[in-house]
């Protein structure tokens, strides 16, 4: 019911190309996350799918139907905005009912659907309130309620959790994932937060300068990044990159080792360095070690690691998890 395909879609503003030709196919019912740094074009891509921006060339198909020149109102997509974009002059009830009113749905059915959506999202007690009387999390729920009430072909989320505090963000993340499992409707979710991407997505599209760097499941991206950009973007803390002679030993221009694939010891290892900062999280310890000739290397260990700044330690990469990249940053087969 809600497959989306982009065929050679481009977008330029004047002479400036924001999206070079892009091809992407999103399966019906899947949860796809567009992730990338600020300004990489992920929101623009979402807005192209929504119809809020016109494509410069190419074709956008929704359910196999060419929707490139269809106005947003007729694409049957729902969108949740970063700013919530609630109608300030309407009550919560009317905000949620609005898409149904626009579709000329019968009043009794509207009432039934609004109340059902409100119940799903724990908004029943707030239906008479105005958006300004709600907290950030409640506002975001209303925005989601407005999106789910009319059963669209797909949901588009444009960084919906960016304005929420950290604890609420984790809760809402879970709620959106649950909602997807419940509704089984296609969802496209834009974020710059790779943790959100990894935890929520069936598939992730990593974007950089408008280009798709890689499209795959979270674990594919984690295990087999196509290039140095994806390797650096996916995973937290970030992958360590080593260039020059050390990389040449592995037959590569540069190598990458994830912090969790690096062992630390006080006795012996491949590289010796001095601990600069140790971040103790309880469940993990992130240790930042300065190694002569290699720079700052981050190591992640499970549990508590009794190191402190100034300690001399030895680092050893896990040979099974060394990623090799050529001069252009393209991944060579895993070493």
């Amino acid at each position: 019911m809600g497959s989306i395909a982009l065929e050679n879609v481009t977008k330029s503003f004047g002479n400036h190309t924001v999206i070079p030709p892009i091809n992407l196919s999103i399966d019906d019912g899947s949860f796809v996350v567009f992730v990338g740094p600020s300004g990489c074009g992920k929101s623009t891509l979402l807005r192209l799918i929504a119809g809020l921006e016109d494509t410069t060339s190419g074709v956008i198909r929704i359910d196999g139907e060419d929707m490139t020149d269809t106005i947003p109102a007729k694409r049957q997509l729902s969108m949740v905005f970063q700013s919530y974009a609630l109608y300030p002059h309407m009550s919560v009830y009317n905000n949620i009912a609005f898409p149904l009113k626009m579709a000329n749905v019968d009043k009794s059915i509207i009432d039934q659907k609004v109340r059902a959506a409100a119940q799903t999202l724990n908004l029943t007690d707030y239906l008479d309130r105005r958006p300004r009387q709600l907290s950030g999390g409640q506002r975001q729920r209303v925005a989601i309620g407005r999106a789910i009430v009319r059963q669209p072909k797909a949901f588009l989320f444009d960084e919906p959790l960016s304005n929420l505090d950290a604890a609420l963000r984790v809760n809402m993340r879970l709620e959106i994932s649950e909602l997807h499992q419940q509704l089984k409707t296609t969802m496209i979710y834009v974020t710059h937060d790779q943790v959100e991407a990894m935890t929520m997505a069936d598939k992730i599209v990593v974007l950089n300068a408008g280009k798709i760097e890689q499209y795959g499941t979270p674990m594919e991206l984690y295990r087999s990044p196509a290039n140095r950009f994806v390797a650096g973007f996916i995973g937290s803390p970030k992958m360590n990159f080593i260039d020059g002679a050390e990389a040449a030993k592995f037959g590569a221009h540069s190598i990458g080792i994830r912090p969790e694939h690096m062992a630390i010891s006080t006795g012996q290892g491949n590289w010796q360095g001095r601990v600069q900062v140790a971040e103790h999280l309880g469940s993990d310890t992130f240790i930042h070690v300065s190694v002569d000739g290699l720079g700052l290397i981050t190591v992640r260990t499970e549990g508590e690691e009794p190191v402190k700044p100034g300690d001399m330690v030895w680092l050893t990469p896990d040979p099974a998890h060394i990623y090799r990249f050529d001069k252009a940053g393209v991944a060579l087969t895993t070493h």
Partner: protein, 275 residues
Amino acid sequence: MARAVSTQKKWAWTIFAWIVALLIFFPILWTILTAFKTEGEAIAFPPHIIPNWTLENFVEVQDRSDYLKHFFNSVVISVGSTLLCLLVAVPAAWSMAFSPTKRTRDILMWMLSTKMMPAVGVLVPIYLIFKSLNLLDNLFGLTLILALIDLPIVVWMLYTYFKEIPVDILEACRMDGAVLWKEIVYVLLPMAVPGIASTMLLNIILAWNEAFWTLNLTAAQAAPLTAFIASFSAPEGLFWAKLSAASTLAIAPILLLGWFSQRQLVRGLTFGAVK
């Protein structure tokens, strides 16, 4: 000490503001007082501040010209031109605020620049056009010309208000299935009500007080209150008390409207200036 200085300053400013306000209001106050004087009192020197409170000027003014007819004409022209203006200005300001092009800014500046041209510069062509279209001394003609004259101001004001409305909300509305007219009717206009209301008020006041075109393009049938006042600076000489009575009658409705809507007006005029 600091508190004493700031209290003194506050007093000084308050007195200064009162003096300025009284200076601005004095001509209106004097007109109203003179309206209740006899003709002799009105020209007496030294002037009599407190009048005899006679109503004879009002009676004579009403006898000589039909106040209600002029009042009705003023209402039709000012309200009509305002509505006509909004009909054009709302879509224009909408498109400039939400789908601007490279030239939008220039168009806005050009529109404003037309207000800087002296009206008399186009009096002859407009007069001839009105004559050939049979619009002289015609309510519709006056409504039309006042709408055109105030259009730049109204577009500018609405443009400023619309710019304050987050684009996200309009986009959300489009995503929710609203076509253009529904977007304007259900979301844009209700959100812009304070701005539109103050624009309407200001435009009604501007149109009510407009004297150049109303005097030049009317004779008897469509003459509004501005022509009514002008008719009292008559060939027989100046009759200050009667002229004041006519002026008081002419400005009273708009003064009351302004008085009761001053909060709305001030909010409207400072909208966007202070966040």
